[in-house]
C-alpha cells in the first residue's frame, strides 16, 4: 500500500552507476555527488521511493545505521535533491557484507566559462578581458 516515501527528484538529476559506486549530478547547479557503495545502494532505492526505515534496513545491522541514514538524507534534503511522494514499498535487497556508512563527496562539474581566445591571456575564471585592437 502506498505511503509517504522519499524519492530523488529525477527532473533535476542525472546519475549513473559506476561499478558499485555512483555519480549523481544536480543539473541545476552542476554539483556532482560521488557516492560510495552504501550510498549508491540507498540512492537506487530512492529512485522509486523508500522510507528512512527501509533505507536503514538495507544497510544491515549496525548501531550507527539509523543515524548515518538520517544524516545522509539530511544532506540530500538540504540540497533539495529528494522529495516526499506516495509510493509502494520498494524491493529492499538483503544486506550483504560488513556495514558501511553511506558517504558522498560533493564536487563541481562542467566548466562553464566562455572565456575568450587567441592572442589574449585566457583565464577561464576571469570575466573581463582587454578589448581587441
Amino acid at each position: 500500500m502506498p505511503e509517504a516515501r522519499l524519492r530523488f527528484r529525477s527532473e533535476r538529476i542525472a546519475w549513473r552507476r559506476i561499478d558499485d559506486e555512483a555519480v549523481v549530478i544536480d543539473l541545476r547547479n552542476a554539483s556532482a555527488f560521488f557516492l560510495n557503495p552504501a550510498a549508491a545502494l540507498l540512492w537506487e532505492l530512492l529512485e522509486s521511493g523508500a522510507t528512512a526505515e527501509e533505507l536503514t534496513s538495507a544497510l544491515g545491522p549496525s548501531d550507527d545505521a539509523r543515524s548515518d541514514v538520517s544524516r545522509w538524507l539530511g544532506a540530500l534534503a538540504r540540497r533539495e535533491l529528494i522529495e516526499t511522494v506516495f509510493a509502494p514499498s520498494p524491493k529492499v535487497p538483503p544486506p550483504s557484507g560488513p556495514y558501511q556508512p553511506p558517504r558522498m563527496i560533493e564536487d563541481k562539474v562542467f566548466c562553464g566559462s566562455a572565456g575568450c581566445g587567441k592572442s589574449i591571456p585566457v583565464d577561464f575564471n576571469c570575466q573581463r578581458v582587454p578589448r581587441d585592437s
Binding site: 527532473e11 533535476r12 559506476i18 555519480v23 543539473l27 541545476r28 581566445g117 587567441k118 573581463r128
Partner: protein, 259 residues
C-alpha cells in the same frame, strides 16, 4: 564563405560583413579546408552589441539553443546543424561564441569540449585536462618536437571503439597548432599537477570521472544535453586509460607520460 574543420566538426562559415570576414579568416586560418559534406552552416555578422560580457544566458532544448550575452547572441540548430552568430565586433566575442557553439554541437554528437591541453607524440594524442594552474600551458611549452593541438581547449570525439583528440582555435598563450596536424587517436589522459619529480598513477573509474567532469565545457541548464555529456564522460573513462600526473617542468615529464 569559409570551410573549416576544428574541434572534430566540419563548419561552413558565412561571414555577413567585411569585419566578420576578417575576424573569421584570422580566427580559423589554420583550420581552413575544402567543402565538406555535412558541415555545420553558420552565418556570422557583427552587430551593435555590448563589450565582452559576464553572464551567458542559455535557453533551449536538445534541438535548438539560444545563447545571449552582452557581446554576442547565437541561435544553434543542433538537429539541423545550422547556427547564426551576432557579435559585438571584437574577436574575443567571436571566439567565445564559437567555443560555446562547439561545445553544444559536440555534446549532441557524443563528444565533448574539454578544458585541456593536448599534444601528439608518435602519432598518438595525449590529453591533459585541468583547471587553471594545473600545468596545461607548462606542458604545452615543454612539448619540444611534439605537436601541440591546444594548450587550453581540446575536443574529444568518438571514433569507432576509441576516440580522437582534435585541435580547436581556442587557445591561450599558444600560437596555434602546426598546419596539417590537427587531430590524432587518443592514447591516454593525464590529469596534471605540479609536484616534485614526475610520476604517473592510474586512476579508478570514479576518480577519473570526477576529474574529467570538472573539465568538460557545458553551458546553461539543458538537462538532455547535460545527461548526454555525463554519459559520454562515463563511457570515455571506461575506454581510455586515465592517470594522475605529477610533474616538474623538465624532460622527466615525458618519460612519465609515456610510461
Amino acid at each position: 564563405m569559409i570551410h573549416a574543420t576544428f574541434g572534430g566538426l566540419h563548419w561552413r562559415l558565412i561571414p555577413c560583413d567585411s569585419r566578420a570576414i576578417g575576424h573569421v579568416e584570422r580566427a580559423l586560418e589554420r583550420f581552413s579546408v575544402g567543402p565538406t559534406a555535412g558541415a555545420i552552416t553558420v552565418a556570422i555578422a557583427t552587430a551593435p552589441l555590448g563589450a565582452f560580457g559576464e553572464e551567458l544566458s542559455v535557453e533551449g532544448d536538445e534541438s535548438r539553443v539560444h545563447l545571449q550575452r552582452s557581446d554576442f547572441t547565437a541561435q544553434l540548430g543542433l538537429s539541423a546543424r545550422t547556427a547564426t552568430i551576432e557579435y559585438g565586433g571584437e574577436i574575443p566575442s567571436l571566439h567565445a561564441a564559437l567555443r560555446v557553439a562547439t561545445s553544444f554541437f559536440l555534446a549532441r554528437s557524443g563528444g565533448f569540449l574539454a578544458h585541456a591541453a593536448s599534444l601528439v607524440s608518435h602519432g598518438r594524442a595525449f590529453l591533459f585536462p585541468g583547471p587553471s594552474g594545473a600545468g596545461k600551458t607548462t606542458i604545452a611549452r615543454l612539448a619540444g618536437d611534439r605537436t601541440v593541438l591546444s594548450d587550453e581547449v581540446s575536443a574529444v570525439v568518438p571514433d569507432g571503439n576509441g576516440y580522437r583528440c582534435h585541435a580547436t582555435p581556442f587557445f591561450g598563450d599558444f600560437e596555434g597548432p602546426r598546419p596539417g596536424v590537427l587531430d590524432a587517436p587518443l592514447a591516454r589522459v593525464c590529469f596534471p599537477s605540479h609536484g616534485v619529480g614526475a610520476s604517473l598513477e592510474p586512476l579508478g573509474i570514479l576518480e577519473a570521472a570526477r576529474r574529467l567532469l570538472a573539465c568538460i565545457f557545458c553551458f546553461g541548464w539543458i538537462p538532455a544535453l547535460q545527461r548526454r555529456l555525463l554519459e559520454a564522460a562515463l563511457v570515455f573513462v571506461r575506454r581510455v586509460p586515465c592517470f594522475d600526473l605529477r610533474f616538474t617542468p623538465d624532460s622527466s615529464l615525458w618519460r612519465a607520460v609515456h610510461a
